[in-house]
Every structure is written in C-alpha cells, then in structure tokens.
Amino acid sequence: MTELFWLAPFIPGMSALLLFLFGGRLSRRWIAAQACLSLLAAFALSLLATIGLLGAGHGSAPIVKELFSWIVSGSFSARAAFTFDPLAAIMGLVVTGVGFLIHVYSAGYMAKDRSPARFFGLLNLFTFFMLILVLASNVVLMFVGWEGVGLCSYLLIGFWFEKPAAAAAGKKAFLLNRIGDTAFLVGVFLVLAVTGSAEFQDLAANVMGGRFPAGMATLAAVLFFIGATGKSAQVPLYVWLPDAMEGPTPVSALIHAATMVTAGVYMVCRMNALFAFSGTASLVVALTGAVTAVFAATMALTENDIKKVLAYSTISQIGYMFIGCGVGAYSAGMFHLVTHAFFKSLLFLAAGSVIHALSGEQDLRKMGGLRRYLPRTFPAFFVGAAAIAGVPFLSGFFSKDGILSRAFAQGQYVVWALGLATAILTAFYIFRLVFLAFYGRDDRISAETKAHIHESPSIMTVPLAVLAFFAVAAGYIGLPRVLGEKVDLFGRFLAPVFANVPEHGPAPGTEWILMFLSTAAALMGITAAYVFYVKKTHFPHGLISRFPALYTIVSRKYYVDEAYDAVFVRPLVRGGEVIFDHFDKRVVDGALNGTAAAAGAAGRVLNLLQTGLIKDYALAFLIGAVLFLGFLLM
C-alpha cells in the first residue's frame, strides 16, 4: 500500500480535469463533494505511506517511485520520479490534510458563488501541482510543480476577475514570482552545469563529496533562495502577498498561508545539503528571514484590513521559518511550517467566517464586540491568535521557541534578537485584531450590516474546530529536547533527511531562560494590546498624534510599493511608451506603411496604362510586335 503514494497527486488532478470539462453540467453539491473526496483520498494515501515509513524504522531508504523517464537529452536526463521520505511525508500530510479541511470549508464559503466548478477545479489543480512539488525527486520536476502552483495562485487571486483590484493583484503576484522563478531556473541550470544531475540525492552526495566548488554552491544556493523569496513572499519580493488577499478567503488560507507560500521553506529544506554547505548562503537566508519577520510585523501593526493583517503576519512567520533554515535548524523550520499551517489557516478561515457574517466587511474599524454574535468563530479565532502569539503550551510557542533557541545556540544573536522583537510585535498585532474585532462595543458595525449578522453554518465551523484542535495539539509532537531526549518526535522523524547537517541545541539552562523570554515577549505583546485596545482606547490616537510622521510611514507600508513603482514599474512603462512612440510607431509601422504606400503609388501610375479602350491595347500590341520583329531582323 505504501507504494501507492504516487497516486496522491493524480487523484486531485483527475478531479480538476473532470471539473474543468464537465463542471458546467454538475450540481453544486456534487462539485464540492468530488473536490473534497479527492483531497481525502490523497490524504489517506499520504497517511498510509507515512505509516509505512514509520514502520520501516529509522534511517531506512526513502520510497522512490519512477513513473517514466521524462527528458533524455545527451548526457542530461530527468526522470518523472517521486520520492517519499519523512520531509515529503510531513509536507504531503499538511497539503492534503489542511487542504481537505479548507476544501470542506469552501463548500460553505463559496455556496453562493457563480462558478463553483472553476473554483474547486482550480483548488484541486493547485493540490495536484503542490504534491508534484513536494514529491518530486529532482529539481526539474520540482520546478514544474513550482510553476504550476504559481499559475493556480494567479488564477485564484484573480478568481473574481471582474473586480479590477483582483485582476491587478493576480498580475502583480504573477510578475513578482517571475523574478524569483527566473533566479530559481538559473540555479537549476547552474546545478546541472556543475554536477550534471538534477536528482536531489545526487546533489546532496556531490556537495558532501566535495564535487561542488564552494563559490558555485553559494551562488546556486543564493539563486534558489531568490526563487524562494518570490514564492514565499520575503524581502524584497514580498509585496504581492498583501495584495493577493483580493482572492477568496479559503484561497488565502490554503495557498497564501498554509501551503504554497511555504514552498520556499520546503525547497530550502529539500536542498539542505547545499545550503548547509555554504555558510554565506545560510547567513543570507537567516538574515533575510529575520529582517522580513520584523519588517512585516511592523507593517501589520497599523493595517486595518483583517485579511491583510494576516497576510503581513504570514510574511513575518515565514521569515521565522527561514531563520530556522538559515541557522541550520531545518527540522525546527519545518516544524514551524506545520504549526503555522494549522494556526494560520485557522485564523484565515475564522476571519473568513467573520467577513461572511458581516456581509463582506473587512475593515477592522467597522467591527467590534463580535464575540457575542459569533459564539463558535470567536473561540476558534482566539485559539489561533494565542497560538501565533506564542502563548505557552500552544503549538506556536514550541515551534517558535525551537527556532529562536537554536538561533541563539548558533551564536546568531542579531537574528535571535530580531526574532524576539518580532514575537512581541506578533503578539501585539494579532491581539489588536482580536480586541478590535471581537471585544468592545458593537456600535462601530453599521446598522445595515448588523441586521444580517449570523454565525456561519456547520460546514464552515467544523473545519475551524478541527484546525483549532491541531493549533493546540500540534506542538506536542515536537517538544523541546530539554524536556527529554525522546520527546522531539518531529525532529527524530525528520533526522534522516537532515543527517548531513550538524545541529546544536542550546544548553538546558539557556533553553529554559530562552523559553521564559519568549513567554515574556508574548505576554508583553498581549498586555500591550489589551491596554491599547480595550482599557484605554484613546491611547493609540494619542500615540498617532504624537508621532504622526512615524505612523504615516508605517501605515503606508514604508512606501515600498511606491518606491518599486517609481524605480521599476514607471521607468519600464515610460520606456515602453518611448519605444512605442519612436520605434514602433515610426520605424516598424513606418516600414510597413511605407511598403503599402509604395505599392499603392506604383499601382496608381500603372493604372494610367489601363484605359479600357481596345485601340490602346491594340497599339501596345502593334508596338510590341514591331519591336519584336525589328529585334529578329537585326
């Protein structure tokens, strides 16, 4: 049964194909049921294979399934082959498991949408490509999945394409991802040029065997990481993710929180040998992650759109994962990926439930006191918020602490400090959201909206409950080592994948202190948010009026979009216009129109010969005959 894991991508893939071909003729219920069941089947296959992997024991070879030899060209060949190792198992379970819950939720959330077949077809297609990315045994096949999820992301952000903002957001995401993907592709070429093999196993072996020059390894790793900054929305290519919130909320939960945006982290973990080999590249990864984490967290502080707060929070949390990868704590990074997938998709889905209840309202300033109206959404959201804030004994606490303590143990104090600062900011902005939306008086909600307020149906709240359970419980599969050598089940399961990477945990005493600091950071943020937004609600306004410039800069997101617009977009557009005006219109069009004009003029001149009179033609004939005869006689 374990070999059947290779079917996992193709079940959602087939489902997508059926939905695209016959979706128009299927009933709404059937479409949703088929999409959900295909995910459930894929999840079951992943689970079976994972159980098989657990049963096979520590350090056994990964399961490889070769489908066919795909590209054979000279000395280069790439197989269409899937590898199922612990890393792929975890990512596959997250993609299909969280994906399944989000599919179920979507059946309720999108119940009134006009094109359910297109929506569920795209979600299924996304799962297909994501699983290809996860299971690929070589970097070329991974690139296929990498591009495929990007395509689905574009199509789903622009799902409501009749809204100009949604169409523009999709385009922005696609173009920014192109930049990263180009770097990724160059990285693939570099690896192929140096080692001649695209297989991940060969790559690790070549790096470990010293057959990969250090400079080249750094260059390749940095190129791959630039690809990751595009896909995983890190500095400097993060600007597409907040705009991507124009898509339907389940899409934000699935693609832009739980799975696709973490593909960059997965890819770095997959190539851990290459990244660990190059200290420079690892440092780049860690620093980019830390800077992104703190930078995005500050932007979340002043955001008033409930989904965009979560988007900035996603960027920030992925920054944490990259800190983990950058300091060599790959399994801690993966662990945060898993817990983040649970609590962030929970937060997104709960936010979706809030938006649903308020008839599409996303502005935090027009929310308040919702905990009385949404008795099931509120606890779910609260659990998610507590988890991401790092409240002790919830999943986010363990995974965040795992990363920060290892960053500290590696001596990356700057990175650690930035991470700790982010932890305070995270707790603050997420509880700002909780207090603004769910606490306080409900008079900020417009009367019209208030009349329609309703708790979401069970099909939406049950997935919330399941995710809330995991947002609490997922932490207990990866407890810190200080509690015992064997409690870090997650790390032990992943150990064979990261066997080449030496990992130092902090000393037990240090780890306790670090844990205490993390807890203090979380509580500090939450308390501050409580004071600001529940106790003394005039406080934020006072701060704004005292530091208006600072507030403006932060709330305008440091003018990064404007800067990119001024530095890249507008010169390109302007340059395009100049070329259009001077080259296209004058040279290209001029050549074309000139040819036509010359032909026309020649026609008009030759037209004079065509008088239509028999005499003239006869005269021409006579002259011709005389000339011909004269020629013959001479």
Binding site: L608, Q610, T611, G612, I614
Partner: protein
C-alpha cells in the same frame, strides 16, 4: 509569270490597310473586317512563298488560317451581338468599363 515581289507588295499594302483601318475606325464591325483583311494579307504572303518555293506547306497553313478565321468570325460576331444587346452601341470608345 508575274514576279513574286508584286504579290508580296500587295500583301504588305493589304496588311497596312488593315492596320490603319483598325486604328482609325470606331465601330466594331469595321474593325473586325480590318482584322480579316490583315489575316488575308498574311494568307497571300504564305501562298506567294509556297508557290515560289514549290512547297505545299504554305498552302496547308492558309487552309488552317481560313478555318480559324471562320471560327473566329463566328465567335467575334457573337460577342459584338451581345455587346450591342447590353450597351445599345458598337462603338469601341463606349466600351471602357475595364478602365483602371
């Protein structure tokens, strides 16, 4: 025996007459007649050369030309008839719809 040159001169005179008539006359029937004159001028030249070189080839060609001329006359007159039906005129200057 009249010298062959006489016949050839007559042939040339007839041909030139035909050409001139073709160009100065405007109605199609006369132009058509002018063409016939030119054809028969050529026939006379053929016969003259056949006689003087004691070969039958030229005479055979003349028979062909007469045959073709008869067919051509039938077709040409039919065309003139149709043109007249449509345009109520057989003046060549009136037929200029092919003007570019």
């Amino acid at each position: 025996m009249i010298p062959a040159a006489f016949f050839l001169v007559l042939s040339i005179l007839l041909f030139v007459l035909g050409v001139v008539a073709f160009f100065i006359k405007r109605d199609l029937i006369t132009m058509f007649l002018a063409v016939e004159v030119m054809l028969n001028a050529a026939n006379l030249a053929f016969l003259t050369f056949a006689k003087s070189s004691a070969s039958l080839d030229g005479q055979v060609i003349v028979l062909f030309v007469v045959t073709v001329a008869a067919a051509e006359a039938a077709v040409g007159l039919a065309i003139i008839l149709v043109v007249f039906k449509r345009k109520k005129s057989i003046q060549s200057d009136d037929l200029n719809i092919m003007k570019g």
